[in-house]
Every structure is written in C-alpha cells, then in structure tokens.
C-alpha cells in the first residue's frame, strides 16, 4: 500500500470552521490519513472530522497538546501584562524597604532583576497570541473555552473523533512559565539559560534577605543583652525593625519567584488553579500553556492518553520524551503505521 507523509500548515488566524471547510482537501488529501495535530492542529482535525463525517480522510488522530475543550490562555494572555506588573511589584518590595521611591524600585526590579526573563515570556507569548493567533482573530475567538465553536465541537465529541484518537500532552516541571519562554525563544528547545538567570535573581534576593536578617539579629541581640551597653537602646530596636522589614521584603521577593509566580501563571494565564498538594509537590500539572483537562480530555480513552514528562507546550513536537510517546501511540492496532 503506498504511503505518503505531508506536513501541512494553514492560516492560524482564520476561523477554525472556515479553515476546516476550505482546506480539508489540501490538509488531508489522502484516504486513511494518520494525522498528528499539534496544538490548534488537533482541534482543526476534529473539526474536519465533524464536518466531513464518514467522508473524512482522517483515519486516526494523535493530538499533541491540543486544547480540545478550549485554551484559557486566549483570555489569560490579555492578563499577561498586568500579571507581569504584579511580579515586578513583588520584586520591588525589597527596594522600597531600602527607602527607594516606588517607581524607582519597580524600575530596578524590571531592568536589573526580572526584566530579562519576563520580557522573554512576554515577547514570546505575545508573539504567539497577538501576532500568530491574534487575540482578536477568529481562531482565537474559537479557541476560548465555551465559545460557540467549542460548544458545537464538543456537544457530541464522538462525531469529531476518528475511531483511533490519542492525546499526547506535556507536563512541565516547576517554573514552567520560565521554561516555556526559553523554549519559545529557542525554536522549541529549552536551553536552561533563562532558568539559570531566574535562579540567579532568586538567589540574589534570598541572599539579600539573609544578610538583612543577619543584621537584624545583631540589633536584636544587642537590644536584649542585659550585660551589653545597648540594652534597651531604642535606636537598636529601630534598626532591628528596619533590617527585619527589609529582610522580609527580599524574602518575599524570593518566595514570590519560587512559588507565587508559578501559581499566578497557572491561575491567570493557563486558567488552572494549583492545589495545595501540587504546590507542595512543586508540580504545575500542565504544559504551561494548555490545561491538562483540555489537552487530555475525558472523551479520549484513558488508555489513549500519553503524558510526557518535563515537556512544555513549545517542546511537544521536538522533545525526545514526547516523541517517544508518539512512537508508542503510532504502533497501537488502530493506527499501526508501517515502519519506514
């Protein structure tokens, strides 16, 4: 039996239903096609199946990080600028404790400490949604959870799924937003360089907090030492309070980078609330872009959902972990793609 391999793309700004109707023949030109649909591609394949029904050429679908029940990030991306400003506020707190004016403190945080990282995240998510998908595009409108398109697509999922439907989805490690930005910056491969910078900033804040607490400890000890010459000296108490306050502020900055910003990313951008257990386990539970419940929905059978470790959305079609999972899906009996 002859086989073909095609790698097709489409205008990601157009309404998904329109793309399915107008480009199905060129996107899926052969009978019995095994379609690997990355991100919106998986949703588009389902829409082609919905429109074509029994006449659809798609025999099997392996969706890879596809937002089957919607991508909250379409809404969340609009929050990104505000969220990042909140992050700068977190980092500015320490400098405010050092008596810098608010605007100067934010400027320091932005340009010296977190700016390079958040700018990468911002630029790449912005590129992804404002330019490639377009927050106001028809495609973006369709991808919103509970959009008219999504409601139609999912009103009877079985009519949109080839008999062989598999869902490969990523599960990125902690600091998933930083890793995602790095991967988008580097054509789908996280280099670790952005995360290293992130660690460095976080360590700086933690060290700053440490030395502030160290100073505070000195003034505390002096103030309460009944045999010392500064026993009960109000200046020492004031100095204790000052360094304690500064220590708390820098400590908060480090904690925010370590924990809160990951929670923010999940909640405000991806649209998923992390449980307390997930925070304790340091498990962000998605690919940093699409909630797992959408990328691996319940209407895809449990034995056809493949989870890829430490893989973010940008990496899903390049990282060995997800490629291995795709290999195992390809050999299942309802796909059984011949070896080439």
């Amino acid at each position: 039996m002859p086989s073909h391999t095609t790698n097709n793309s489409y205008n990601g700004l157009n309404a998904i239903g329109y793309t399915a109707a107008s480009q199905a023949n060129s996107l899926v030109p052969y009978d019995n096609t095994v379609t690997i649909g990355y991100s919106m591609g998986g949703v588009l394949a389902r829409e082609i199946k919905r429109q074509r029904g029994a006449n659809c050429n798609i025999k099997a679908l392996i969706s890879v990080g596809s937002p089957h029940t919607g991508a909250s990030i379409v809404n969340g991306a609009q929050n990104l600028y505000d969220v990042i400003n909140l992050w700068f506020d977190d980092l500015a707190a320490g400098w405010i404790a050092y008596s810098y004016p608010y605007n100067d403190a934010v400027w320091i945080a932005r340009y010296y400490f977190l700016g390079s990282i958040t700018d990468i995240i911002w630029a790449n998510v912005k590129e992804r949604f404002f330019n490639q998908v377009g927050l106001n595009s028809d495609a973006a409108r369709d991808l919103k959870p509970n959009s008219g398109f999504m409601n139609t697509l999912n009103s009877n999922p079985s009519t949109t799924l080839p008999a062989a439907t598999y869902a490969v989805y990523g599960q990125e490690d902690w600091y998933s937003h930083v890793r995602l930005g790095d991967a988008y910056l580097n054509s789908g491969t996280e280099t670790g360089a952005v995360l290293q910078t992130y660690y460095n900033v976080m360590s700086y804040y933690a060290q700053e907090a440490f030395w502030n607490y160290y100073d505070a400890q000195y003034y505390w000890d002096e103030f309460f030492d009944p045999w010392g010459e500064h026993y009960g000296d109000p200046f020492y108490w004031q100095m204790y309070l000052y360094w304690k306050y500064a220590g708390d502020a820098f400590n908060f900055g480090a904690y925010a980078m370590n924990v809160l910003h990951q929670q923010d990313w999940n909640y405000y951008i991806v649209g998923e609330t992390l449980s307390a257990q997930n925070v304790t386990d340091r498990n962000p539970v998605n690919d940093a872009f699409i909630p797992t419940v959408s990328a691996a929905p319940s209407f895809v059978a449990a034995n056809k959902r493949y989870k890829a470790l430490n893989t973010n959305h940008a990496e899903l079609m390049k990282y060995s972990v997800s490629l291995a999972q795709i290999s195992y899906a390809l050999r299942r009996p309802d796909i059984n793609l011949p070896l080439r």
Binding site: A163, Q196, Q217, S327, L339
Partner: protein, 374 residues
C-alpha cells in the same frame, strides 16, 4: 528571630529545579558515560559478568561495566535510524537483536555476527520485544509469530494468528512470550474499524498448534504478558488479568477506576508490578488474588517501559528520568536525570534501564550512562 533564619534556610533548600524526593538517603552517580547520536534510543541494554552490551545508533557495543572501556563495537548494518526494538536479549555466548524484518546474533566475546535471519513476507511491529527460552527465540509481527532457533537462526515455526478474529482482519502480536515448557503466549490487538479489540492466544511451541485463546471483552488490546507457575498475567486498558496458562480460564481480574495500562507487566515473587500510562503510577498486585498491594504516587510521564524488580526494588525509566522504588510500598528511593540535564534538557535517560551487579545502565538521548545502584 531564629525562626525567620530557619524559614530562610528552608526556602533556600527548595530552590532545586527538581521536585523534592524523600527520603534522600540513597544516591546514584554516573560512573561513566559515552556519546551516542540518536535521540530516540529505546533498546534496553544487558549487564552480565562485568560487561554491559548496548544497542544504539547503528551499532552494538560492549563496555567494561566498571570503567566504560570499549571492548568491541559491531556495526548493525542499518541505515541511520532508531532501532525498532525495545530489548536486547542474550544467552551464554550470544546477543540477539531484532529490527524490522530481521534478527541477528552476535558473539558476546568479540561482537562478530554469528547468524542473521531475514523474514520474507513479514510485516514487523515497531518496538517489538522478543522473548526466548533455552532453545528458541520468538518474534511477533502483524498477523503472525515466528519461532527461530537460538543456535542457528533457522526458522522453526511461523504461526498465523487466525483465532478469535473475524475473517478479513488481522491481529498484531506485540510481545509474545515463550516458556521453557514450550508454550507460546501471544498478546494481540486488532482494529475493528471502530475501535480496538485484543486477545491472548496460546500455541504449542513444538507444533504450532493452537491450544487456547482468551478474548478480552472490553474495547482494548493486550501488549505484554508474563508467566509464573500456572498463571499468565497481562494488562489491558484499566485491568490486569490472570489466567490459567494451561487452560486459558480466568483466575482473577482487577480493574482500577481511574487509570490505564499498556506495557511492562513484571512478576517477582508473589507480586505483579505494572506501570500505568494515564496516571503514570507504579502498581503492585498480589499474584494469586489480584488484590492491590500498593500504588505509587503519580510520576510525571506515562510508564511504558520494561520494569526490573531486584533486591526489593523496582527500577524503571520513563523516557526522561530513572526511578528506583521500594518494592514493598512504592515509595521513591531515588529518582534522577542525567547530570547534564540541569544545563541542557535534551539530555535524558530514554531506554529501559538495565540493572545488575551494583550498576544501572541506560541509553540516553545523547549518551550511554552507567550509574551505581543507589
């Protein structure tokens, strides 16, 4: 004041990029590593008598286990590409590797090719795991299994899998199992056109005669099986089954409510170990009753691999990290990525991990690694 310093120290310790694993009393370190070039290296190596044998890229290699000295290297005669097998088998003096339509045997001492067998009119299955007994090898394909002599590579039987399937359809033999008492057990899957079905088929390894078959009633296939005493155990979708391996009669079936299995069933002692690929947990079941002994915490990646159980530990890798679990309760004893991983995420442990003689060997995406057993 002391408490804030304490809290700060706690915060410092949580900066690691990997999730905290407890306990941390056990450590594994890379003893040596060697470069490989293919990213998807999925063949489990062999460890034996102070050496390790590794198939990756287009070669098979022998290294000294304790220091990584290359003893020999043999070309597999492949065009560059991933080997379509998931396990290297071995006997006293030979190594056996399957890839698409052929099986080759190499001399363990020097890597010389001893025999090679090409299967005509054979449709292979990707990532096929062969099985062996003391005289024969068994290979699964689409619609048939082939038994060959371990000594000569001669084809001894070709068994067409026509049972428990409508005419006009064919079933895929994933990882057939051959027992020392000459039975062949074949877990299969086939496409109905609207879904998947599967069977367990049993044949005589002497005559190829069909002995019994078990039809899986749920919409699912079976991709691995193993035996112990009179039982054959296999996973299918959300269930683990145990049958009498001489009659095909079901002894027990255990179904989990929120998970699914595919590969990697292993028996050690009186326990069945099985990895899941939906919730990515390791499970342990009582061999005789099927009751659940324990299930591990969720890991981050579907467990579709070959599990090794030794010295009360469960070892596996899931295309990225190596895990070592306590076989009594499933708690994680050790988990690790390659040392380069923190700087370059493309370094992962990708093949099933081989364990023995105090070492673990894994073929990663960029290197072969030998680690001490933690």
């Amino acid at each position: 004041m002391r408490f804030v310093l304490l809290s700060l120290i706690i915060m410092f310790t949580s900066f690691s990029c990997e999730e905290p694993i407890s306990p941390v009393n056990y450590e594994a370190n890379v003893i040596w590593s060697k470069d490989v070039t293919r990213q998807l290296n999925l063949v489990q190596p062999v460890i034996e008598k102070g050496f390790t044998y590794v198939a990756s890229d287009t070669t098979i290699k022998c290294f000294k286990l304790d220091n990584g000295t290359l003893i020999w290297e043999s070309n597999l005669g492949l065009i560059p590409g991933s080997i379509a097998s998931a396990k290297l088998l071995h006997s006293n003096n030979m190594l056996f590797l399957n890839h698409k339509n052929w099986v080759k045997a190499f001399d363990k001492a020097n890597g010389d090719l001893i025999w090679e067998t090409y299967f005509e009119n054979f449709l292979p299955v990707n990532l096929q795991i062969m099985s062996q007994n003391s005289t024969s090898l068994i290979v699964g394909g689409q619609g048939e299994v082939i038994k060959i002599s371990r000594t000569t590579g001669n084809i001894e039987l070709r068994i067409q899998l026509n049972e428990l399937i409508p005419s006009g359809y064919f079933q895929i033999a994933y990882s057939p199992f051959i027992s020392e008492d000459d039975f062949i057990y074949v877990p299969t899957g086939w496409s109905t056109g609207n879904g998947i079905k599967g069977n367990i088929l049993c044949y005589s390894a002497v005559s190829g005669k069909y002995v019994w078959g078990y039809e899986i009633l749920t919409e699912s296939d079976a991709e691995s099986c193993t035996i112990k005493d009179s039982l054959i155990v296999f996973p299918s979708s959300s269930s683990i089954f145990a049958l009498n391996r001489f009659t095909g009669k079901k002894i027990w079936q255990t179904t989990v409510s929120d998970d699914a299995f595919q590969e990697s069933v292993t028996i050690e002692g009186e326990t069945v170990y099985m990895g899941s690929h939906d919730k990515s947990r390791m499970y342990a079941f009582h061999l005789r009753t099927g009751s659940l002994k324990w299930k591990s915490k969720e890991t981050e990646s579907s467990i579709i691999t070959i599990i090794t159980v030794k010295s009360n530990r469960v070892y596996f890798s899931n295309f990225a990290a190596i895990y070592v679990l306590d076989a009594f309760n499933g708690s994680i004893i050790w988990k690790g990525f390659p040392p380069e991983y923190n700087q370059d995420k493309s370094y992962i442990y990708s093949s099933p991990v081989a364990v023995g003689e105090g070492y673990m060997v894994n073929v990663g995406s960029k290197k072969v690694y030998c680690l001490n057993d933690p």
